[in-house]
Structure formats: structure tokens, C-alpha cells
């Protein structure tokens, strides 16, 4: 038996994985009201563990390793935490705590029953999602990662249909079947890798893998499968109805956290398992899908009538963002993907998206709770009634836009630098244009929310202050990420955030966003458009509307099952082909 069990602080990794699961099991055992108490007790503990891991990682200055049972790979399983994993662990712990604060109001057990279905299920599934994500981040074994992915799916699916309506059940079933399809493809890839190299351990595989038939097929299949689980366009078949129909506290979990699991795994595969198999062309394809997701997702988001669906479609767009980093991390001289500015930028994007998107869904949920509806056109007066909620929504939007002080700003800066450095100017356009799209729907919502209302606003229900505060906290956290990230990052990135150039850029994004919102929204944004302003803009508006309708139709077509599943296989084939031939430039 091996004596060494890895680095000193490695045991913390096992604890971080186990804590949510043990919490979940205890919740099942105790039942009733105790479920919520156990879950809420786990949250600060988990956050403390994540902080502990961060401190240990900073102190040791190297990847934390823990050998389970003392058995070294390839026979045993190792848990590992590098910078990517540590950042994600911390972000997820923070978001889970925020969501926990928010959900206390929505998922409290009613006073007249011993145990309610919704509360029991929600808190336990939240714990399950958390444990599964921690496992995804720290597991160093491809099969354990498969089990973790399945855990994530089994916990995510019931969250979709917690409300129990027919539409959410349909969404859940689509999600389940499509996700299963994706995980089988992932497992198939892992099996091929074992057949080729006799191990499933990530570092051992990374050392052994050669660009050949087996590695290429495995990478193509696994990537396609994981993209299906991440819901990258055009594989977002299940995402909008699922995220738009679930209760807000569940949507926040699904949108901010669950999709990050499979995204993270793509990152691991491309960057750590098979960086040498990846080709320039395949990375371009991945980011190209991302760019399409940004355009289609944003345009369709702008055409939604309901706030929650708007936020759900904006998730489709944001997922696109997360994949822009791949070609930028490609080192053309060595034909290999490398850790560097681009991957850090991508990671930072994921973290700020997790926090901001959770905040956005929470705010949307609060609006829904207060008004009894979430029709964007009827939001007038809400800014006065729920100032904190609207502020949280706007701050989250600003954080997503990537304007000056936010984490996403740093991320965008890193990616822009990487794009400049590698001469891939076209991604600069996508990065800047994407920000304008994000600005557009913030403007759209804000425009509606700030409008004065003639009659007094009817509030159906008083919203919980704590929930509002939780949303605000996460939004502010996303903005403040810039400060937190500055420590380990080079200082020149934020040399002068208030310089005229930066301000002009911000203004440009905002103005672009406003124009997009004006042109693309379904209902005219301004309540009574002045004829003078409307006349010259008429033709542009017509063109924009046509674009909007085209995107909507494309979205509906792509989200048909036969199209999506064929798309999945076609993508796998395309990736395979590009991995084979794409060793150019």
C-alpha cells in the first residue's frame, strides 16, 4: 500500500466532496423541518472548506493531491485541485450560500405539515448538485467524472420540474434524455481511452495520449456529449423551457451551477487530458458555436415577453461566451492548448457568470413573486416598489456586460489580449459585440422597470428582504470579483479603468446595447414613440425585426428533437474531422 497520500491539505478535497453528500444523507434520515436546517448548516461549513482549500493552494503553490485509500493511480483514484478547480470550488460554494439565503423564503416547510415535498426535495437536491460539482472539479479520474456527471443530471432534472406543471415535466424529460445521450457518448470516449492507454487518470493519460485514431475519436465523442449536457447552441434543446419554467431558486442552481459542471469537463479534457490532440481548426469550431450561441441566444432573449425566459435565453448566449477562450488558448507554434491568459480569462468568465446569473434569476423570481407575473411589458413601477431587486438585476447585468470594474471585465481584457497576441482579430469583434448584446437586455428590462406607472402597483406578495439581499450580494460579488482576482493576476490589466478610452468603450457598449434593444424587442421599447424619431428608424427597425424572427425560427427548428440529436452526431463527426485534418496555421 502506498504510504504517501498526496499533499498535506489534500484531505480537505475529500471533505469538500463529502460534506454536501453527508448533509444530504442526514437530511433524508432526519426528514421534515430538519432538512433545511441541515442544508443551511452545511453551507457555511462548505464555504469554510473552500476557503481553506484556497489558502492551502496559495500556500503550497502547487496542485493539491489526495490519494483515496492511499492507492496511487492508475489502480486507485486521486483527487486533485489545481487553480481552475480551486477557483470553481470557491465560486460554487459562494453561490450555493447565496442561493441558500434566497431559497429560505421560497422553500420553507409550511407550518401545518411535518414535511413537504418541495422543501424536502429542493434542499436535498441542492446538496446533491453541490457535492456533484465539487467532485467534478477535484476528481482526477475520467470514470469518477462520469459518475459525477450522472449525479449532476439526476439532481438537476427533478429541480427542473419541481413545480410539477406539464410544461416543466416535458422540459425535464427532454433534458434527461438528451443528457443521457451526452453521458453515454462521454463514457464511450472514456472506454476508448482506457482501451488505448490502460488508465483513466488525467495526468497519466495526458502523458500517454498520442494524436491517433483512438484519441481523436474519444475527444470528438466526449466533447459532443459534454456540449449536449452544457446546452451549447445548437444543442440547447432543453435549456430555455427548463430554466424558464423552474422555480427561481431552482433556475438559479441550474443556470449558474449545473451547466458549469459539463463545461468544466470540456475544459479539463481539452486543456489537461488531450491538449496535444486538439487542433487549431477544432478550437475555432468550438468558439464558432459559441459565437453563434451569443447572437442567436441574445436576439431570441430580446424577443421574449417574460422576464424569466429572457434570462434563460441570455444563459444560452452566456454559455457561448464560455467557449470563446478555446482558440485563444491555442499555442500555434506547439500545436497545443496551453494554460495561460486565455484560460484564466475563461475561468473568470465562468465564475462571474455563475454569480451574476444566479443573482439575475433570483431578481426575476422576486419580481414574479411580487407581481404574480413576469411580463416584461408590465414591469412599470417595479423599480420603485422593489428597488433592491431591480438594483441587483442591473448590477448583475453590468457584471455580465464586462464593463469597467467587474470580474467579467477582467476576463474580457484577458481574452482580448490573448486574441491580439495570437492575431485572431475576429474573436475581438465577437467579444465586444457580445457585451453590447448583454447590455441590450439589461437596458430593455430597465427601460420597462423604470417607467412610471399611472395606477399604484399591486403587489401580490411581500418579498423577503433576505432574498433581495442575497440577490444583491451575489451581484455585488460578481462586480467585486475584479478586486479578488487582482491578487494572482498581473496588475497591468486594470491599470486605468477610468481612462477616457475605457469609458468610451463602456459608453459604446451601452449605446450599442440600447440600439439593439430598440431594434429587436418585440414590443416597441418606448411607450409612445415620437413619430419624428420613428420615421428614419423605421426601415432599420423592419430589418431588425426580420432578423429577430429569423433567429426565433432558427431556434425553434434547432430545438426539435430530431434536429438536435442529428446535430449532436454531426458535431461529433465535425470535431473528429477537424481533429484529423486541422493541423494548419
Amino acid at each position: 500500500m502506498a504510504l504517501s497520500t498526496g499533499t498535506h491539505a489534500g484531505a480537505l478535497l475529500a471533505a469538500a466532496v463529502l460534506l454536501p453528500f453527508v448533509g444530504m444523507l442526514l437530511g433524508v434520515l432526519l426528514g421534515g423541518r430538519q432538512v433545511q436546517r441541515v442544508a443551511l448548516a452545511c453551507m457555511p461549513l462548505g464555504l469554510a472548506l473552500a476557503l481553506g482549500i484556497t489558502v492551502a493552494w496559495l500556500r503550497e503553490g502547487q496542485t493539491l493531491v489526495y490519494l483515496l485509500g492511499g492507492w496511487a493511480p492508475p489502480l486507485g483514484i486521486a483527487l486533485r485541485a489545481d487553480g481552475l478547480a480551486v477557483a470553481m470550488l470557491l465560486a460554487v460554494a459562494a453561490v450555493v450560500c447565496g442561493i441558500g439565503m434566497y431559497a429560505r423564503a421560497d422553500f420553507a416547510t409550511p407550518p401545518d405539515v411535518r414535511e413537504s415535498r418541495a422543501a424536502f426535495s429542493y434542499w436535498l437536491l441542492l446538496m446533491a448538485v453541490w457535492g456533484a460539482l465539487n467532485l467534478v472539479f477535484v476528481s482526477g479520474d475520467l470514470f469518477t467524472l462520469y459518475v459525477a456527471l450522472e449525479l449532476l443530471t439526476f439532481a438537476g432534472v427533478p429541480l427542473v420540474c419541481l413545480a410539477g406543471s406539464g410544461e416543466t415535466l416535458r422540459a425535464a424529460l427532454r433534458y434527461m434524455l438528451f443528457a443521457l445521450c451526452g453521458s453515454v457518448l462521454y463514457l464511450l470516449g472514456a472506454v476508448l481511452l482506457y482501451g488505448g492507454y490502460g488508465t483513466l487518470d488525467i495526468p497519466l493519460l495526458a502523458g500517454a495520449v498520442q494524436p491517433g485514431a483512438i484519441a481523436r475519436t474519444a475527444l470528438a465523442l466526449m466533447t459532443a456529449g459534454l456540449l449536449a449536457k452544457t446546452a451549447l447552441f445548437p444543442l440547447h434543446i432543453w435549456l430555455p423551457p427548463a430554466h424558464g419554467g423552474a422555480p427561481a431558486a431552482a433556475s438559479a442552481v441550474l443556470s449558474a451551477l449545473v451547466i458549469k459542471g459539463s463545461w468544466f469537463l470540456v475544459l479539463r479534457l481539452w486543456l489537461d487530458v488531450m491538449p496535444g490532440v486538439v487542433t487549431w481548426a477544432s478550437a475555432q469550431l468550438l468558439a464558432g458555436l459559441g459565437a453563434t450561441a451569443i447572437v442567436v441566444g441574445s436576439v431570441v432573449a430580446l424577443r421574449q415577453e417574460r422576464l424569466k425566459l429572457l434570462v434563460a435565453y441570455s444563459t444560452v448566449a452566456q454559455i457561448g461566451y464560455l467557449f470563446l477562450m478555446f482558440p485563444l488558448a491555442f499555442d500555434a507554434t506547439g500545436n497545443v492548448l496551453v494554460h495561460g491568459a486565455a484560460s484564466t480569462g475563461g475561468l473568470l468568465q465562468a465564475v462571474s457568470h455563475a454569480t451574476a446569473k444566479a443573482a439575475m434569476f433570483m431578481a426575476a423570481g422576486l419580481v414574479y413573486a411580487a407581481l404574480g407575473h413576469d411580463r416584461i411589458a408590465d414591469l412599470a413601477g417595479i423599480a420603485r416598489a422593489l428597488p433592491v431587486t431591480v438594483l441587483a438585476f442591473v448590477l448583475a447585468g453590468i457584471a455580465l456586460m464586462g464593463v469597467v470594474p467587474s470580474g467579467a471585465y477582467l476576463a474580457k481584457k484577458l481574452l482580448l489580449d490573448a486574441a491580439d497576441g495570437s492575431g485572431q482579430w475576429w474573436w475581438t469583434i465577437v467579444l465586444q459585440g457580445g457585451a453590447a448584446f448583454t447590455a441590450a437586455y439589461v437596458v430593455l428590462v430597465l427601460g420597462s422597470a423604470l417607467r412610471r406607472r399611472s395606477a399604484a402597483l399591486m403587489q401580490v406578495k411581500r418579498v423577503s428582504r433576505l432574498a433581495e439581499f442575497a440577490a444583491l450580494l451575489l451581484a455585488v460579488g460578481s462586480l467585486a470579483l475584479a478586486l479578488a482576482a487582482l491578487g494572482p493576476l498581473p496588475g497591468h490589466l486594470v491599470s486605468n479603468p477610468l481612462a477616457p478610452k475605457e469609458l468610451a468603450m463602456t459608453l459604446l457598449v451601452l449605446v450599442g446595447g440600447a440600439l439593439l434593444a430598440l431594434g429587436l424587442s418585440r414590443a416597441p421599447l418606448l411607450a409612445a414613440p415620437r413619430p419624428a424619431a420613428a420615421a428614419p428608424a423605421g426601415r432599420l427597425r423592419q430589418a431588425a425585426l426580420a432578423l429577430g424572427i429569423a433567429c426565433e425560427q432558427a431556434d425553434r427548428l434547432v430545438r426539435r428533437w430530431s434536429f438536435a440529436s442529428i446535430g449532436l452526431l454531426t458535431l461529433a463527426a465535425l470535431f473528429g474531422a477537424l481533429l484529423l485534418v486541422g493541423r494548419a496555421t
Binding site: 450522472e150 420540474c161 410539477g164 416535458r170 424529460l173 453515454v184 472506454v191 430530431s562 452526431l569
Partner: protein, 106 residues
């Protein structure tokens, strides 16, 4: 041809057959059956690889076989969850269609 290659090739075909069913069969239950066939194809492939790895007096590599047991149980859990969702959908809407929701505003 030895038995492991035979079954490995057979497994490749099973994966393809399962994929086909997953795409073209409209009913969710049929998709689920197809998923199980595709999954079993992957399992048989893994089993054939285990047989290839026979060494050290063992008739097959025990690691993939142990993983297979886990994978079979996980696939069963997946089937159970999917069936439960499907039955609940039928119960509450009397349909099992996976078609898109009607466009908003209509």
C-alpha cells in the same frame, strides 16, 4: 477472429443501432429503450477491452469489469428516473410528446 474482437465489433454496431433509435423514435419510452441498447453497446465494448487485458493469471482485467458493474447500476438508476418523469408527464398531460412548446404569444 477471437471472441473479444468479435464482441467489440458487435458493440460498435450496437452503439450505432441505439443512436439511430434515439434519433428517429418519437416516443420517449422508445428513446429510453434505445438509450439502454446504446449503453449496453458501450458496456460490451468495455467488457471486450477487459478480456483483451487478461494477464497475471486473470481471465480479464478486473478494473474495467468493476467499473462496468457501477456503470450498469448507474444506467438502471437513469432508466428509473426517466420512467418516473415520463409516467408523471403522461399522468398530468395525457401526452408523451417531446415536441416544442407552442410559441409564446399564440
Amino acid at each position: 477472429m477471437n471472441v473479444e474482437t468479435l464482441f467489440a465489433l458487435c458493440a460498435c454496431a450496437l452503439v450505432g443501432i441505439g443512436l439511430y433509435g434515439l434519433i428517429v423514435q418519437p416516443h420517449p419510452l422508445r428513446k429510453l429503450v434505445a438509450f439502454n441498447i446504446m449503453g449496453s453497446g458501450v458496456f460490451v465494448l468495455f467488457g471486450a477491452l477487459a478480456k483483451r487485458g487478461a494477464a497475471a493469471g486473470m481471465a480479464a482485467d478486473p478494473v474495467p469489469q468493476a467499473l462496468l458493474i457501477t456503470a450498469i447500476v448507474v444506467a438502471f438508476a437513469a432508466t428509473a428516473v426517466t420512467v418516473a418523469v415520463l409516467l408523471r408527464l403522461i399522468e398530468s398531460t395525457a401526452t408523451a410528446s417531446l415536441a416544442n412548446e407552442p410559441p409564446s404569444g399564440e
